[in-house]
């Protein structure tokens, strides 16, 4: 369905995307994971024809994006990272306008708007102005606007940024349904690894414009070497403490993140006790411990030495 080959994007001297290649099959949900500024949105912008690649090729259903941009745009639905809606228009008015931008008119347009509102479960609020909506509801209409023309390929650029957990779950369920029940091919970018793990069968991890891992979830997880992540919440932690923990045997990497020391370890059972001893030995109080099984976060940590949210 989607093929990206040797994609490069340079802005003046800065190379935002560096030789990216991946493909997405029909009906698949593919996750593009990476921290902020990794090049995800630039890649998406090139796929949807908003930016011209410096080098490389993108095809959708075998159609070259650069040569037949309009044809490709008709096949794709894009959910932008921004809530690209008119706040003073109602949800229905917004959808009617965006439907017209995809060439829909008359009865068909109205039917598609009804359908999209139903998918995002906002039929009852359709006459309310967007400015009166909560962040989560706006995000749902943002998605609905990209479904009106029943695209074969749905590209979602961080669609859950800045919303409450309940709305986030609602959006994830919607995406799951679009992919699973309606057979829509989905490319989902996020820096929330749990979302990508929940939705996608295959994943690509991008960092500094380069694809550093690509494969099925289990394949990519294995890249972390089967290691676990220990998250140690400590009162007043600092970099020196993180460095001291990182130097302990069995710990591959450790860093300070969100007031906790996050360590990638080979075997959690063997490493936890020395870690606790090292921390309490400095006089600092341990507030809590979490052990996570291998996941995309630990893969990213393993591959880059940094956390995804950095």
């Amino acid at each position: 369905m989607l093929a990206v080959r040797n994609l490069v994007k340079r802005f003046d001297k800065k190379e935002a995307v560096r030789g990216l290649s991946f493909s997405v099959s029909k009906g698949e949900a593919f996750g593009l994971l990476g921290p902020n500024g990794a090049g995800k949105s630039t890649t998406i912008s090139m796929i949807c024809g908003l930016l011209t690649p410096t080098e490389g090729e993108i095809t959708v259903n075998g159609v070259d994006v650069a040569r037949q941009t309009m044809k490709v745009k008709q096949m794709m639905g894009i959910v932008p990272q921004d809530i690209a809606l008119y706040p003073t228009l109602s949800a229905r008015e917004n959808l009617l306008f965006w439907g017209q931008m995809y060439g829909l008119t008359g009865k068909e347009l109205n039917t598609r708007v009804d359908e999209a509102l139903e998918i995002v479960s906002l039929t009852d609020r359709q006459k309310d102005r967007i400015e009166t909506y909560s962040g989560g509801m706006k995000r749902r209409i943002n998605i609905a606007a990209s479904l009106l023309h029943r695209p074969e390929l749905l590209i979602m650029d961080e669609p859950t940024v800045g919303i409450d957990p309940q709305s986030r779950n609602n959006i994830l369920e919607t995406v799951k349904r679009l992919n699973g029940e309606m057979g829509m091919t989905v490319v989902y970018t996020s820096h929330y690894m749990e979302e990508v793990e929940y939705l996608c069968e295959r994943v690509g991890i991008i960092d500094h414009g380069k694809l550093i891992a690509l494969g099925s979830l289990s394949e990519v997880r294995r890249l972390a070497g089967g290691g676990s992540t220990i998250r140690l919440r400590v009162a007043n932690p600092d970099e020196a403490l993180a460095a001291a923990v990182g130097a302990l045997p069995g710990i591959r990497q450790a860093q300070l993140q969100d007031g906790a020391i996050v360590a990638l370890v080979t075997e959690a059972g063997d490493t936890l006790a020395p870690m606790l001893t090292a921390v309490t030995g400095t006089g600092k109080k341990v507030l809590g411990v979490e052990i996570e099984e291998p996941n995309l976060e630990s893969v990213f940590l393993h591959l880059t030495g940094r956390a995804l949210r950095d």
Binding site: M70, K73, P80, Q81, D82, A84, Y86, Q100, M101
Partner: protein, 398 residues
Amino acid sequence: MRKVLAIATNGLVLMGRDRKALIMFLLMPMILIGILGVSLKDMMTQGKIEPFSVIVVNEDQAAQPALPPGAPPEVKVQLPTIHLGQVLIDEVLLSHEVQEIIRLEIASDLTAAKEQVQSGKAVAVIQVPATFSADVINSQPSQIKLYTDPGRPTQADIVRQITGAFTDQVTSGTVSAHLLGESDAQSRIELPVITQNQAGAKTVGGMQYYAAGMAVMFMLMSAITRSKAILQGREDGTLARMAISPTPQWIILTGQTLSSALLIGAQFTILLLGTTFIYGVDWGPWLPVLLIGYSFAIASSGIATGLAAIFRDPKAADGAVGLLGMVFGALSGSMFPLYIFPDSLMMVARLVPNYWALQGFLDQMAGLGLSYAWTPTLILCLTGVVVGAVGSVRLATR
């Protein structure tokens, strides 16, 4: 075409939902027109045109009337030499009455004189042809030629009235040719009544002046606000969303420009009707007034697109609404009557599209009619198309 209309309609709906903008661009001008029109009424009716420069290129050669058939040859000696070009200068243009409003310059180089008009240093060149006196004596058709500044129609019309009256009188026999050789010729040439506020038949009152002035000023302010709306779309992602739909960029830009034109045109229509029915303003004949008004809407829509290409973000455009609107408004005569402007400022004023719109409206209010609407209409439409096209290209490549 359907998408162009959808984008244009959407822009109108969005503006219609913006109460602040509606108050600013419909209610504010109506209030200001009322206040300024009433308070500055006297100033308008007692207005005085500042003296302006006119150049005369007198190529006329003195001529002597032919002897009547059968007249003895010695009579010829008694016949005076007639030099009508010199009479026009000495007795008409240098008369006390005309000197109050015209600064006369005498030149011999016609090309250089025309350049003075083009550069705005003079309002008109009066060219008296070499055979003017001879032609008049021999009852042959002859004409004094005028080259005037289209940007200052009021002053140009005064010059036209003066030269026209002179030519009419010397060619129609009101003043007989032989008398023109005499020293009291001036007393026999009646000068036209020079209207100081406008060249037309009607007087433009304060309420009329400020109805046109404020309408023009607020229409341009709307254009700047539209540029903000275009930039807002860029910032909030709606423009990008349009761009990722199967809608070519030229359709998006055309839709947005059409939206601006419709919006500003609607604003003009409302202000035109509002001032006509609430304040009783007589704008003049509807056809030329609408022509000028909608041409200015086109010019403003082009300016909106052009400004969107210049400003970095909506905040910058927002800041410019007041500043640019006021500066352009003041420069074009929306705040202070055009006729009190010195020549140098008038030159600058002509670079501002508001000036052409305002001057066009004033000409219609003065009763000058459709023929006076073409120049502003053409200039305004051209401004809109050129500025809009340049802005569109820049926006598309930004």
